[in-house]
Each structure stands twice: as structure tokens, then as C-alpha cells.
């Protein structure tokens, strides 16, 4: 029975444990319930990934109503891949959160915090698995609203303005998405993605070409694309991101940086391929021509700005904008190799950014701040944390034998296969810049001396260091034994592209 309903339970379990956390009311109990729910989801997601690899697309009719009358859950390989990333990061972050949350968030808010974390988690998973354009919006709203709360729930007052700004821009993005879906509904009469894709290629009632050539559908695509760009934080719509990641509690920064933008990219793939694939959005709108330049400029500017940051978390946030740029380049190429490289980089970036933010969280636990000048020599007294930090940093740069190298190499190959020499050169330049900012952090933490008279620092608690190290080793694992992940992302890309083929 569980196997049959796994696809819905993976989302509904965390969604319903969230109100349970509020009823339990105590921080420790809520943490226990949340951990159990997230780990169950992780187990279910692994099971689902295995089944999608074997059987192909999985479907589930909610309420027992056949689509398009009812809502359909439809899990393809790309969805299963992102689902696995989200649940895996969740499973690592939750054990870590116990100590970190106690240090960074007021105690009477703990139950509410875990409820919101679960809601955000469930909302992100709902996006990965849905086959209905409006249901996707509902899940997007759950995760976004929960995110705004998670960012501002800590003690740092600056997080409030960051979250407010994010709320404004995020709402604009979600509204754009909704307007786009509304326009598409006007022209197709359905909300089911596959049904939409079918009707878009049909002839218009007045016989003037297919439905997707109408002005309404073009406007819809423009709204959907810009709305999703806002959520992805693609340059120049990234302004909300740095302060959100910098001032949110450590657990939240780690979870969001590793999952939220990845899921938003999946939304973009859903728009481009699943909904509008047969209508070939890359021909209808100048998407590739705008996306690749924006992405590469974004990667360069963000890497450059990251060098001048004096706050570690802000520095990592700017680096995230750069990394999102790499993923956008792969999608903008509109080739199978590019798409596969983007998906692979999604997995690897989740692992390396997760590692880095968790390691910084360990430092925050002991030192209580993230300004670079306050962290001189701290790494020497926290050996395990700094090991993780160095591994994550090397992966971020893209040093061989780390995960970051594998996907960056795949991306470069995809770019060169289309003979975009300038783009390839700029990617390399941006990687050089990343050596500077990562090097700066490692220099301050390990090579500088602690100021005389500073109090000695202990290593962070075991339950924080252990999850951090697990992710850090993931960087090596996916760097050395990279075939499996590469193969899965290649298949996922192939499936998405095949949907487009007439």
C-alpha cells in the first residue's frame, strides 16, 4: 500500500506533521516529529527515484478523479532527481538543526519554526511532483510563505527587512506565474500540463495557425518566464537573495541555498518543456538569446562582488547567484548536453553550498558572528569544520576530484559543442574569480593567527559536525564516482527533450 501511495505520501506526510508540531508545542518534540517526517520522505523519495528509473513516469490520480477533471501527480526523472536533492538535504539538515536552532532562535518559537520548515519542505516537494499548472502555484505559495517566515524568525533584526523585500519580489514572481497560467487557461481550457501541451499545438478555432502562436500564449510565456527568473534569482532579478541568505538562521540558509533555487529551476523546465515543449518556446520568444547573456553576466558580476564581501554568508550568497548563472547557461543552450550539465550542476551545487553553509553554521554556533575579520584563525581550533569548509570550497571552485569539477566540465563541454567560445572563456574567468573569494575565506580562517588574548574555541557539537562532514564527503564521492549522477541527469534531460520532439 505504501508503495502505491508513495508519490503522495512523500508530500503529505511533512505537510500534516507541520500542524502536529504546533499541537505538540514543545521544541524538542516538534524537532523529533519533523525529523521522522523528513527522513520518511527521504526514504520514499529514494524508492520513487528507483522506480522512475525502472518504470518511467509515475502517475497518481488525486481524489480518484482522472485528469484533466481532477489533479494529477506525475513524476518524471527530472522531478524525481530534484525531489531526491530536496529530501536528502532535508535529512542532513534536520539532525543538525537541533543544536543550531537552540542557539539562534528564541525558545518559544521552536515549534513554529519546525512547522514552517516542514511546510517549506512539503511545498518544494509538491512542486517537483505535480502535473498540474495551478497545483504547482499552490505548492509554490506554501513554500514561499513558509520561507519568508523562516528567514525572519531568528534574532537578527536585519533579517526582517531582507525577508520583507523577498516577500515583495517573491509575490511579484508568483503573481506573474499565476497571470501566465491564467492566460494559458483562457486559451486551452485546462490546467493539466500534458493536456495544455497537447491543446497548444492544435489549430485555433478560427483556423489561424496553432494555439501557441497566439499573442495571449506568448504573453503568458513571458509572464511565466520572468516570474520564474525572479524565483531563481537570475541576474538582474537577484537583488533579494544576498541579504536573505546572509541574515537568515544558519539552518535556513543551508536548506534554502541547497534546495529553493533548484526547485525554481525545475519550474522553469516545466514551463519550457512539459507545458510548452511542443510549441518550442525557444523559437517563439528570444529566450536563449536573453538567458545565456544574462546568466553569464550574472555569473561574472556576482563572482566579482563576492570577492569584496566582508561577511562569509553574504559572500556565499553572491557565489550562489553566480552558480545559478551556470545552471541557466546550460538551460539556455537548449541542447541535451546543456540541459544534462545543468541538472548535474544542480545536484552538485546543492551538495557544495549545503556543506559550506552548514560549516559556517558550526562557526556561528561557537563564535556567534560571520564577519571575516572576527574569524581570524578560528579554523585552526575547529579542525573538522574547517575540513568540511575546505572540501566545499574546493568543490565550489571546481578543482578536479570534487563534485564541482564534474559538472563544470560537463557544462564547458556542452558550451564548446555549440562552439560558444566566448561563453566558455567567460565561465573560466568566473571560476578564476571564485578561487579569489574562496581563497580569501580559507586564508582568514586557517592561515591568519587568532588575535592575542582571544578566548579558546571548541569544535562544534558532534550532531552539527557529523551532518556537515557527511555532505562534505558527498563532494568527494560525487567527484570521484560521478558516473551514476551523470547518467541520471543525462536520462532526465533526454526525457525532457524527447517530450519536445514531435
Amino acid at each position: 500500500m505504501i508503495a502505491e501511495h508513495a508519490i503522495i505520501l512523500v508530500v503529505v506526510l511533512p505537510l500534516l506533521v507541520a500542524p502536529l508540531c504546533v499541537l505538540l508545542g514543545r521544541g524538542t518534540l516538534a524537532w523529533g516529529a519533523a525529523t521522522l517526517a523528513v527522513w520518511s520522505s527521504f526514504g520514499l523519495a529514494l524508492h520513487l527515484l528507483g522506480r522512475v528509473l525502472e518504470e518511467g513516469v509515475l502517475r497518481y490520480q488525486l481524489g480518484g478523479w482522472a485528469p484533466p477533471v481532477g489533479i494529477e501527480y506525475r513524476l518524471d526523472l527530472a522531478g524525481a532527481l530534484v525531489m531526491t536533492i530536496v529530501t536528502a538535504i532535508g535529512a542532513v539538515v534536520l539532525p543538525y538543526s537541533f543544536a543550531s536552532v537552540r542557539r539562534e532562535i528564541d525558545e518559544h518559537r521552536h515549534a513554529w519554526f519546525y512547522a514552517c520548515l516542514l511546510l517549506c519542505f512539503a511545498g518544494l516537494l509538491g512542486i517537483t511532483v505535480t502535473g498540474d499548472a495551478f497545483n504547482l502555484f499552490v505548492s509554490l505559495e506554501i513554500s514561499s510563505l513558509a520561507t519568508y517566515v523562516l528567514v525572519s524568525i531568528g534574532r537578527d533584526r536585519r533579517a526582517l527587512t531582507a525577508a520583507f523585500r523577498y516577500l515583495l519580489l517573491g509575490t511579484v514572481g508568483a503573481t506573474f506565474y499565476l497571470i501566465g497560467v491564467g492566460f494559458l487557461y483562457q486559451m486551452t481550457g485546462t490546467l493539466n500540463m500534458e493536456d495544455m501541451a497537447r491543446i497548444l499545438t492544435e489549430a485555433r478555432p478560427d483556423g489561424l495557425g496553432p494555439v501557441h502562436s497566439t499573442k495571449t500564449v506568448r504573453a503568458a510565456l513571458a509572464f511565466l518566464t520572468v516570474g520564474t527568473f525572479l524565483k531563481i534569482a537570475l541576474f538582474p532579478l537577484h537583488v533579494w537573495l544576498p541579504n536573505v541568505y546572509a541574515y537568515a538562521p544558519s539552518v535556513v540558509s543551508a536548506f534554502l541555498s541547497a534546495t529553493a533555487t533548484k526547485v525554481a529551476i525545475l519550474v522553469l523546465l516545466r514551463v519550457f518543456y512539459t507545458v510548452d515543449g511542443k510549441a518550442t518556446p525557444f523559437d517563439a520568444l528570444p529566450i536563449a538569446d536573453t538567458m545565456v547573456p544574462l546568466a553569464i553576466v550574472g555569473a561574472l558580476v556576482a563572482s566579482f562582488v563576492a570577492i569584496y564581501q566582508r561577511d562569509v554568508k553574504r559572500l556565499l550568497a553572491y557565489s550562489s547567484i553566480a552558480q545559478v548563472g551556470y545552471m541557466a547557461i546550460g538551460i539556455g543552450l537548449a541542447t541535451q548536453a546543456g540541459l544534462a550539465a545543468s541538472l548535474l550542476h544542480m545536484i552538485n551545487h546543492a551538495i557544495m553550498k549545503g556543506t559550506l553553509f552548514l560549516a559556517v553554521g558550526c562557526i556561528v554556533y561557537r563564535v556567534g558572528q560571520t564577519r571575516l575579520e572576527g574569524l581570524r584563525g578560528v579554523g585552526r581550533e575547529m579542525p573538522l569544520t574547517s575540513t568540511a569548509l575546505v572540501l566545499g570550497g574546493l568543490s565550489l571552485i571546481g578543482v578536479p576530484l570534487t563534485a564541482g569539477f564534474v559538472s563544470k566540465w560537463a557544462l564547458l563541454q556542452a558550451v564548446l559543442a555549440d562552439s560558444h567560445w566566448i561563453v566558455a572563456a567567460l565561465i573560466l574567468l568566473s571560476s578564476l574569480l571564485s578561487i579569489l573569494y574562496v581563497g580569501q575565506v580559507i586564508h582568514v580562517l586557517l592561515l591568519r593567527k587568532r588575535p592575542p588574548g582571544a578566548a579558546p574555541i571548541q569544535e562544534a557539537p558532534l550532531w552539527m559536525v557529523l551532518p556537515t562532514l557527511v555532505l562534505a564527503i558527498g563532494n568527494l564521492w560525487f567527484g570521484i564516482a560521478s558516473d551514476q549522477a551523470a547518467e541520471v541527469s543525462r536520462q532526465a534531460a533526454e526525457f525532457l527533450i524527447r517530450e519536445v520532439a514531435p
Partner: protein, 353 residues
């Protein structure tokens, strides 16, 4: 006639929106927003979307106006003009946005056209012709929201739940060990001093609450359901709070109870889905609930609507309580500070002179 009403209402909307943009006084902008919502609600009635009109009237006109006013009371209501450069940018973005919207409508089927894809797609026929027979429910909006797209409604309930928890987490009051001293001026609620308001509103509250229960239970046959019932119920409670003050209202329905109710409503809704799975059906397949599938559908819809109603009413009341308590603490601390300042000035007149 219908067209004339549409045009007049739309002209009203336009002029109010313009006035709200132009005014420098946030207090009048808040009132204009309220009127804007009221007219939108009227427009929804004209468009035969009575359900939406109910929600818009209760939330847009009632609750959100009060929330904005409470916020203005603690922040002030004058705005200073923004630098011209940013206004130009904002104007440019708005123009592009508006142009795209207009461009999108060029190929859109005209309003109410029977040839529109929305009406010609087979599912439209299913919802209007098969559903009443299959469900045995005359109001075809209710099965659509509660069953065919019931999972979306579960999601929307989760959104409302998140909003409630979010407000609690950000501005909810911590249970204080040492409560602030009560200041005489705040013992009585503001409007309680005005006899006419008190007498009239007191008589309004019971019918509002009763009407909410009617809307909750009668969703199968007339416009309504959990969302509408929840917001109407909460606006009745809000009226009580405005009359007698938030402290009094908090004593009648305690915030802790509300917090548990928020969670309970969502759990009821999701619980129905889990029971369906245990009965061997799909998640939210209410037909498994009883021997006769149609009875099962009715049980399922009534139960989940109850869940929605509980969560929505509890969340909106919680939000109003939290805002009002926040303002009350703010004003009281300011008054206490002023009074201490005055006392200090009295005890040492030399320093003041």
C-alpha cells in the same frame, strides 16, 4: 442594463484606484482600498461569483482595512515623496507590464463567448453536466473546489495555516511572566465610549456569527463553504474586539486555543485524505467513506469544509489579535514613558526650567 452597471462599477474602480495612488495620506489610502474591495465585491456579484464576493467583502473591506489601520496607528500615516529617478523607473516597469497585459488580451476570446476554449473543453461539460448527477450536489462550485480539485483546496488551507503560524512567530506575543501594568485608559475598549456604535454593533454580532454557521453548513446548496464561513465568523469576532478591546476578546477566546484550532483544521482535512488511503482509495477519494459513493462524497465534503472553516476563522482571528495586541503594547509603553517623563519633570522642576 447589465452593461451600464458594469461600466459604472469599473469607472468607480478606476477612479478609486487613481485616488489611492495620488493621495499622500495613508489613512485615506487605506479607506480607499476598503471601498475598492467593496466595489470589487459588487462586481463579483454581477459576474455571478457570489462566493468570491463574500470573501472579498469580509477580508478586503473588513479585515485587511483594520489591519492596515492598526499598522498605520503605530507607524504614522504621512508619506514623503520618493526621489524622481526611482519614480521614472517604476513608471517604466508599470508601462511595460501594462502593455504586456494588453498585448496578451488581443487574441483572448471575448468575455462569456460560448466558443471560448474554457467552455468548449470536455472538462467544462463534465463539471456542468456530469458532476451534478455524479455528486447529487446542486451547487457545482462546491464539488469542484472540495473534491475534483480538493487537493488544491488542501494546499490553500495549508497556505492560510502558514500565514497564521507566520504571524504568530513574528509578532505573536510571548506569554509574559510579568504582564505590563494595566493603564486606566486602556481598560475600556475604544469604541465602547460611543454609545450609538456600541448598541448597534452589539446587535449585529450574533447575526453575523449565525450567518457564518449557515454559510458553512449550506455550501452544498448555495454559495458558500469553509473559506467564506471562516472569514465571516472572524469578522464578527473582529467587530467584538473593536468594541470591547483586544484584552476582553482574548479572555473570551484565548490565543492558545486559537493556535491549536489553526492546526486542528488542517489536520482534519488531511486526516480525511489519510483515512481514504486506509480505506483502499486514492488520497482524498471521499467515495471510500461510505457504502454508497455519493454519501461518501457528501460526508467527505462536509468534513473537509469544516476543517477549512476552523483553520480560516482561527487564523484570521489570530492575525487580528496579534496586530491589535502589538499596537496595544506599543501605545501603552509609549504612554508609560510619557507619564514617567512627566513625573520626573514634576519632581524636579528646577531642571525643567
Amino acid at each position: 442594463m447589465g452593461v451600464a452597471i458594469d461600466i459604472i462599477l469599473l469607472l468607480f474602480l478606476l477612479s478609486i484606484a487613481f485616488a489611492a495612488c495620488v493621495t499622500r495620506n495613508l489613512f485615506s489610502a487605506a479607506m480607499l482600498f476598503g471601498i475598492f474591495s467593496l466595489i470589487s465585491a459588487t462586481l463579483f456579484v454581477v459576474l455571478d461569483a457570489v462566493d468570491v464576493a463574500m470573501t472579498e467583502a469580509a477580508v478586503g473591506t473588513g479585515v485587511s482595512t483594520i489591519l492596515i489601520l492598526i499598522t498605520l496607528a503605530s507607524t504614522g500615516y504621512r508619506v514623503s515623496p520618493r526621489p524622481a529617478g526611482r519614480q521614472v523607473l517604476a513608471l517604466a516597469v508599470s508601462v511595460v507590464l501594462g502593455a504586456t497585459m494588453v498585448y496578451g488580451t488581443l487574441d483572448m476570446p471575448s468575455l462569456g463567448s460560448p466558443d471560448a476554449p474554457v467552455h468548449t473543453h470536455p472538462i467544462a461539460q463534465y463539471y456542468t453536466e456530469v458532476s451534478p448527477v455524479e455528486m447529487g450536489i446542486p451547487n457545482m462550485v462546491t464539488p469542484l473546489l472540495a473534491s475534483y480539485r480538493g487537493y488544491d483546496t488542501l494546499g490553500e488551507t495549508a497556505v492560510v495555516f502558514t500565514a497564521g503560524i507566520g504571524v504568530l512567530a513574528l509578532i505573536g506575543r510571548r506569554r509574559r511572566k510579568d504582564p505590563l501594568p494595566i493603564v486606566e485608559e486602556f481598560r475600556e475598549g475604544g469604541a465602547n465610549r460611543h454609545r450609538v456604535l456600541r448598541v448597534i454593533s452589539k446587535q449585529l454580532i450574533p447575526p453575523i456569527l449565525l450567518y457564518a454557521c449557515y454559510v458553512q453548513a449550506h455550501g452544498d446548496f448555495g454559495p458558500g463553504g469553509g473559506f467564506q464561513a471562516g472569514v465571516i465568523f472572524a469578522s464578527g469576532l473582529m467587530l467584538f474586539m473593536l468594541l470591547f478591546g483586544v484584552e476582553h476578546a482574548r479572555r473570551i477566546i484565548r490565543p492558545v486555543v486559537l493556535e491549536k484550532l489553526i492546526a486542528l483544521g488542517l489536520l482534519i482535512y488531511g486526516g480525511v485524505g489519510l483515512v481514504n488511503i486506509l480505506q483502499g482509495g486514492a488520497f482524498l477519494d471521499y467515495r471510500t467513506l461510505a457504502h454508497d459513493p455519493q454519501h461518501g462524497l457528501h460526508y467527505g465534503i462536509l468534513t473537509i469544509e469544516l476543517g477549512v472553516g476552523i483553520t480560516v476563522a482561527a487564523v484570521i482571528t489570530t492575525i487580528i489579535y496579534s496586530f491589535a495586541s502589538h499596537l496595544r503594547d506599543h501605545v501603552m509603553q509609549r504612554t508609560l514613558r510619557l507619564r514617567q517623563g512627566a513625573d520626573a519633570a514634576q519632581t524636579s522642576p528646577e531642571s525643567g526650567a
